[in-house]
């Protein structure tokens, strides 16, 4: 007896589907890595344009010459209380600098990326913002990226 009565039947209710896995193997030791940060926490420079809290697929470049106290958060999707006290709890840039100084990693990358997760145009994120950030990291010779999100 077959349990399938109608072939290709799909639920009418939207269910998120986990995409097939992506994987780039690690080829360097931690001490030989130039490490960059990318965060969905809405981090950017204080002088830079704020994110649209209703949903925003754009991103902000954060360069290494920006001090951590010159950075801020605009994000409507989580409690900003902690990150307003200390940007490092979502964007641990000072910690990365310290690890580079101690020789745990080779270097802190010259550029990092801030964007606002938790909404916005997912197609734009996937097809434009994501590849643009990846391209920047490629051009700057980044070996590994730590993200904070979710």
């Amino acid at each position: 007896m077959s349990l399938t009565t109608i072939k290709g039947l799909q639920s009418e209710i939207f269910v998120p589907i986990t995409p097939p896995s992506v994987w780039t193997p690690v080829t360097k030791d931690i001490k030989d890595m130039t490490v960059a940060l990318a965060t969905a926490a809405g981090v950017h420079h204080k002088e830079d344009t704020r994110f649209n809290l209703a949903g925003d697929f754009t991103w902000r470049k954060i360069t290494n010459d920006m001090k951590s106290d010159e950075l801020m958060v605009s994000h409507g999707g989580y409690d900003n209380g902690d990150v307003n006290k200390d940007i490092n709890c979502m964007f641990p840039i000072d910690r990365i600098h310290e690890l580079a100084k101690e020789g745990v990693i080779k270097a802190c990358a010259p550029v990092h990326a801030g964007f606002m997760g938790g909404g916005g145009n997912q197609e734009k994120f996937k097809n434009e913002t994501g590849p643009a950030i990846a391209q920047m990291f490629k051009e700057e010779g980044v070996d590994a990226v730590i993200l904070t999100a979710g």
């Binding site: 896995s21 913002t129 730590i146």
Partner: protein, 81 residues
């Protein structure tokens, strides 16, 4: 975002406060300390915890061999709200 960077040929790891969310969106590698959303890399102004989380994250970047693996990290911060 993590997938886009990984697809470009740079290995990545995400520090997540909500592991089921990153699992669903197809993360290649993740760590999950016991933290609330908004303090993924540890308690504010707790340099020791933040350093430990970032170091453990880098170790797992090398350690994890299976795409989609999420490793819990033994650090806990409960926000007082």
């Amino acid at each position: 975002m993590q997938r886009a960077i990984e697809e470009a040929g740079i290995p990545t790891i995400i520090i997540a406060a909500l592991p089921p969310v990153v699992r669903q969106s197809g993360t290649p590698r993740a760590v999950a300390p016991l933290v609330p959303m908004g303090a993924n890399a540890g308690e504010p102004n707790n340099k020791e915890m933040q350093t430990a989380i970032v170091k453990a994250t880098l170790e797992q970047l090398v350690e994890i061999q299976t795409p989609g693996k999420i490793v819990p990290l033994p650090f806990e911060y409960v926000a007082k709200v």
